[in-house]
Amino acid sequence: MKLLNMSLAALHRLLKEKKISSTELTKEFLRHIQKAEPNLRSFLTITEEIALRKAEETDKKIAGQQPIGILEGIPMALKDNICTEGIPTTCASRILENFVPPYDATVTEKLKEAGTVLVGKLNMDEFAMGSTTENSGFYPTANPWDFARVPGGSSGGSAAAVAAREVPFALGSDTGGSIRQPAAFCGVVGLKPTYGAVSRYGLVAFASSLDQIGPLTKTVEDSALVLNIIAGHDPKDSTSVPFIKPDYTQYLENNVKDMKIGVPREFFAQGLKPEVQTVIEEAVRVYEQLGAQVEECSLPHMEYALPAYYLIASAECSSNLARYDGVRYGYRAKAEDMIDMFTTSRTEGFGQEVKRRIMLGTYALSSGYYDAYYAKAQKIRTLIKEDFEQAFTKFDVLLSPTTPTIAYRLGEKTDPLALYLGDVYTIPINLAGLPSISLPAGFADGMPVGLQLIGKHFAEGILLRAAYTFEQNTEHHKKIPAWLEEASKNVF
């Protein structure tokens, strides 16, 4: 288990001290991927050749006594809505099945410059719309803790790959919980940074005012290390915020003494399963014992967040996905005339959930309904934002469950509204643009349960400190699925 289960810092030490080469390390992960994939299907593309070429570059640097960066030579994978030059980027959609981006996303470029080794692209719900990865246009991904359950979504492939130790870390994207919910379902750490902290350039757009890229990792320390690389202002993304990027690892302090933690009571209603609640209440006790001041609080407008979100996100999606028309890239259906080409390409290229959201969004934006739905939802968004601002005058961090339930069984949820309700605790945070992290808090029925922490805008530091302290004083993040213990025993 050693090698596959090592932290980024430990892998870096091995590489630096020449105890292993990046090529050997990459091959080890590729071998494990080959073994795990038949059960998991986290990957849509495996880039073995490209990975080994990149690993060789690092090995040459090390051999030449050149210094290497902290993530240099370390394998990783990206959600398949993050553009990679020359490597297919499908968004798990048939409409982009043959799309090969002519450029890199900013995060891809940054990870390349940092010397990381891309081993593949990860499965997801089509265009990031969904919470189970069952909406993938290709195949569903399984949860590493129980192959009969979903890994969550939409970054289900990213969460499953990290949980199954197929990669040391992955990137996902989060529009309404798509990093945090699968992280919770798979028992890994998922961070959604503040809106504007990480460039969205080259992230295929779903709902532009909500989308944000973030890391999925085994530990909080790894999360800080990856955030160090990917965060920062980017002139290519006009919604990227110019801010002074700190070294996030400086916040990794095992101390929450006198930290003020608010527990919003609204996050303990709305379908919360008792076995999940028990785990989160235990987490609250951990924080209290460590000297944090934990207090109940209220975010009175939370019940309006979910309906407002689905109207706003669908409206933005219907507009963003108008570009898939078969003209410049993507799938083109055979057709007699132009309009027929647009319509048939879209009809044959998009899956059911994407069509449903395009329909909902088009309706919410259409003449006669715009004010009642879209404009009204934007006003609700203001109220949600103000609720959080109010709470943060008193608290450093807010604490809640990440999800009301553990991972669903594959095929268990078919009603779209029932699935939307599962996002109830993660969505308000995207509407307010806040940073938030999900970390392993324990188990219910043998499945992982996620603890969600929420911070002020650009307060990733305090969020990481609160998460790190919890992690250092608990053992949940060290557990791995039983099959993995066996499968990953290796020479190292």
Binding site: P102, P307, G330, M341, I358, K379, I380
Partner: protein
């Protein structure tokens, strides 16, 4: 507010989607159940609330109007379903 079958057909036309009879029925039912739930937001008075389009502070992003290199034409056309003489080729319009 209820969405009718006819409206679903109209919205599909606006969104450039062709729906089968079954899909029209299914979406009418599902959109109604989602909209019924979304009607919750009407409960609350927002008369004096300003809308939020973006959670990040809004500011204009200015830059010099300079010519900078962009993607090469052949790269732009690499993914084109059909291209000819440096153009995207599409079916006849008129």
């Amino acid at each position: 507010m209820k969405i009718s079958r006819k409206e679903v057909e109209h919205v599909a036309l606006l969104a450039r989607l062709k729906l089968s009879e079954e899909e029209i029925n299914l979406y009418t039912e599902q959109l109604n159940s989602i909209l019924e739930y979304a009607a919750k937001i009407q409960e609350i008075d927002t008369e004096n609330v300003a809308p939020t389009a973006h959670a990040a502070q809004l500011f204009n992003v200015f830059r010099e109007d300079e010519v900078k290199p962009s993607l090469a034409q052949e790269k732009v056309l690499e993914n084109a379903p059909e291209a000819e003489n440096g153009f995207f080729r599409v079916p006849r319009i008129v």
